[in-house]
Symmetry: C2
Subunit: 592 residues, 2 copies
């Protein structure tokens, strides 16, 4: 049975050594002193490792069951959800006005990583609620906020996102769900939605569905889509629950993983709905949820990689098999532990250097979101908007690969469900798909985000990398091991962008054929930048005479691995991008 | 529900256009004329696509059940197995003397691909039997051959391989299963074996277990291991079945995939066993099975990739979503099919170019085995021995990745079990693990095979590549698109080998840290060579005025994709190899 240990020390390193949050000018950050964040993270660590992690396999084996129209969650989920609510974890970064704790998003992210790592399926119930509440917060009327937010912030009521229909996923313009206006200002919603995570369950008194639908007579396609609040139970003016609304569960899907989360087909049959935001501007409101959700999904990728890595590492230290070719390490045992073998090391270092780099990337992204929201900083907003598809696509692809590598360390036991490694892989697989499949993320990045505001956010990113390299060129610890590889990787990224500019005009397929590689190229440069910055922070701590020499030296060594072994992937991605659309598009569809 | 179409045309292309089997000097190849192989492949195609493929999901959902000590296979398996037996498919490449059809291994491989692709879990019952029969054929006494082979060739009795114990997988020297000699020349076998595929089931009258065990008093470690024949039911002298032997099923493992195959814990309790081959030389005999099995597992990787690709392609042509950015392709529909999108193309071309390249690689490998066995050709034997870990490791890693890509094409539906794409991924996952985890394959390649016979087999491979390039340099169709990239990739491989020679002496970890990358580097060069040779064959057919212009042009276009987009991975693998052991081994185990 796998276990989970909350990475409090490493999160503290990123928050304080790297991001220096308490010295930041972002409102609310001054309070994030090391003692305070440590206390929060330790508490979250206890809850996630002791309560949620042991339920992870339970959720996988039991799954959710639809009984007489009601979804039953796995044994123990309800009690655990009560604990999460009681601890105030559901509203950590929500406004105090609605019962939240008002902490910055960066803290929500640090804590969220632990929740996702310990039990992704469970955590989705509150994750979806958080997304739905954010959309209401951003686009709802005061009356709507007052009616729904206090209960959603506390997760007494949970939320969902309803986008997909059987015939349309990415291409939402084709949706058929209808919203017919009523005299009282409400709408009658009818249609079928699929893949609705946390669509129904037995852990909350009410479920607030956010549903995309078309008001008849509105514009064609995606421009005619509006967003509606559709509660499972109608809410009376005094906040008490009224009649059951016309929404029901068609079925629960049998999935590859995240069995503990109920993925429902939802049928809306003249359900009462309330317009959220403006009519026909539903996508704008939905994107509030979606951008947050995409970053959260990126986090799931790195979180599953972390818990899988933790268990692979423990197994590699424990399992005796074969001998170190350079000399026996465990002479009193029948064999040496797996970790002596270079190829096992390679795998573990791949995992470790990814997880720690990705953690820094996530938290830096969260800081940019705080800066955008709390300082109204347009540059930060542009940069995180540019990087959102990278966070989602790159971290989930790589995160999944890392779970596969962790599983591989277990040999045959990795394939046996009892050992738990298969679940990490199966659960991590969904993150590459939902909230926009990763190919769509790459399209968003290359087809839209790169060129936003005349490409100035990409240029700002390059400038940041360049400045960092320039400022630290005299540092011998950084120069050859970190700055030179970062410079080369960043040059590959710029060359790729130049190629798109020069050749995408002639034929957009020249850019789109390289979009996936570009997303990965960008991701590697981001992690390379993170590692260079973390190396600097580690070096500073060592220079300052830290007592924890081993931690900081390990950080440097792990970074050197990433720069030497992982970052060179940028050249391969560039080579593929340079080959353009010709070989990709050569075949007629019929000739495949 | 996915479907499977046997790739008869492409197999015929590899057998006849590429390998020109019927013109070969290998005994038995003259009979492999195009009409004959086509008839065999068409028949196998019908059986696999119409009978086995529809049972694939059944096996996944039902799995195997242990009821009162007896394993029940999924509904339909037994009847299908009868059909396979009646068709004579189980002994296709087995000697006629024992009831087989005596065809070359290359035909067994071509047919075997279809079986594995249509239903891997089902096919393993006969696959394990084939391996066990091969070991008896190679190492058994005449009496043993006469007693077991006729029934095993027909699969009236099936076979198993028993290596792993709970505490030892790769490191078999630690095994504890004991074989105590009896006065009658038999042995009493006691111990527990795990991960025994097809360990028990209800589809055959008897099961012939091949079991590794130690004879007390023999040499320590791996040199004291012997191989035994342990029938489920003892066989009387007249061939009739006698008493139940002391072997029983402890449990069936719950696995990530291949649910239709019973993976058993087998308990041997003073079971009667018969020495197969010499005492203490069990590993030699086991390797007869294992080498065959490793090549068969490589085939499983490419086969799962093929069936997954076929379904992803069909979905991409069918599913309407979004519009072609270069101009609407389906003006009468609400959207264009997925296949218009460059990133979907990229994924499909990755899959197609891998599957076709791997198919050629597999069949070329099978031809080398035939040449080694039927012509007693030591050079062919050395070459296929060198490439066996590449076939196993590279084709299963890449094959798995391709199933993940195919699943991704389905978007959300790829995660829902009902659509069947998840099963391909889950089933393909095991191939990276069993018959020696892929890290062990890389170790075998770099630590053993490369240096075998003074490295002459690797040199022969390079010589072959060089000769091919030289002989075809005047061909303008091949030069820039195929020969130049192949030359560069082959140079990367030679450079890597040189690095190992120069640095592995000082510290073997310098070589072993790069072993996994070397295995993939080698695999890419092999597929690059296959594509260059297939391009030549396609060009010749076009020059000769073939009527099937589209097929051959498509072959050329698919090859160009591989050379432009996939083969450049060799440079990345070389860069990682060049970074040596330093960053890989930098951390103390305790500091991870």
């Amino acid at each position: 049975m796998p276990s989970y240990t909350a990475p409090v020390k490493d999160l503290q390193f990123v928050l304080h050594d790297l991001l220096k949050v308490s010295e930041s000018d972002i409102p609310g950050y001054a309070e994030l002193e090391a003692d305070f964040t440590s206390a929060v993270l330790e508490e979250a660590g206890k809850l996630t490792s002791e309560v949620l992690a042991p339920l992870n396999a339970v959720g996988d084996v039991e799954g959710c069951k639809l009984e007489n129209g009601v979804v039953r969650t796995p044994a123990g989920f309800k009690a655990a959800f009560d604990q999460v609510r009681e601890g105030g974890w559901t509203g950590l970064d929500m406004p105090e006005q609605y019962g939240g704790q008002g902490m910055p998003y960066v803290m929500g992210t640090a804590v969220g990583e632990m929740f996702s790592a310990s039990n992704q399926a469970f955590t989705m119930y509150q994750g979806l609620t958080h997304g739905a509440a954010s959309a209401i917060l951003a686009h709802g009327s005061d009356a709507q906020k007052d009616m729904y937010l206090p209960k959603m912030v506390s997760c007494e009521w949970t939320g969902t996102m309803n986008l997909t229909e059987p015939h349309c996923g990415t291409d939402l313009g084709m949706m058929r769900t209808k919203a017919v206006p009523q005299d009282d200002g409400s709408y009658r919603i009818s249609g079928q939605k699929i893949f609705i995570s946390a669509g129904d369950h037995d852990m909350a008194d009410n479920i607030i569905h956010l549903v995309l639908a078309k008001i008849p007579g509105g514009p064609e396609g995606i421009k005619g889509v509006s967003l509606f609040i559709v509660p499972k139970f109608l809410v009376n003016a005094d906040g008490s629950l009224g009649a059951r609304n016309g929404v029901s569960v068609g079925k629960i899907e049998e999935k590859m993983g995240i069995h503990g989360n109920s993925t429902c087909v939802m049928n809306y049959d003249e359900a009462t709905g309330y317009l959220l935001g403006e009519a026909h501007k539903g996508m704008r409101a939905m994107f509030t949820m979606m951008n947050e959700a995409r970053i959260g999904v990126g986090m799931q990728g790195m979180a599953q990689a972390d818990v899988a890595f933790q268990n692979a590492l423990a197994y590699a230290k424990d399992r005796l098999q074969g001998r170190d070719v350079t000399g026996v390490k465990n002479p009193d045992g029948p064999a040496d532990p797996l970790i002596v073998h270079p190829d096992i090391r390679r795998s573990l270092m791949d995992q470790k250097s990814f997880v720690e780099g990705a953690r820094a990337f996530m938290l830096w992204g969260a800081l940019l979101i705080d800066r955008a929201h709390r300082n109204n900083d347009a540059a930060a907003d542009g940069l995180i908007s540019l990087m959102t598809p990278v966070i989602k696509g790159f971290l989930t692809d790589e995160g999944y690969d890392m779970t596969v590598k962790a599983q591989q360390v277990y040999g045959g036991h990795g394939y046996i469900e009892e050992w738990g490694m298969s679940q990490f892989t199966r659960d991590a697989r969904i993150a590459m798909i939902y909230e926009g499949a990763n190919g769509v993320q790459a399209l968003d990045l290359v087809g839209r985000k790169l060129a936003t505001d005349g490409g100035k956010h990409a240029m700002a990113f390059f400038e940041m990398v360049k400045t960092f390299i320039k400022e630290n060129e005299g540092n011998e610890v950084l120069k050859a091991d970190f700055l030179d590889p970062l410079k080369a990787a960043s040059k590959d990224l710029q060359t790729a962008m130049m190629y798109f500019m020069q050749n995408g005009m002639k034929n957009p397929n020249n850019a789109l054929s390289g979009s996936y590689d570009f997303m990965h190229l960008f991701g590697h440069v981001c992690l390379g930048l993170m590692w260079a910055q973390m190396a600097k922070a580690a070096d500073e701590a060592l220079q300052a005479g830290t007592e924890d020499v081993t931690f900081y030296q390990t950080k440097l060594a792990t970074g050197r691995y990433y720069m030497a072994r992982r970052l060179p992937a940028t050249a391969l991605h560039l080579a593929r991008i340079h080959s353009g659309a010709e070989t990709v598009m050569a075949l007629e569809a019929a000739n495949f």
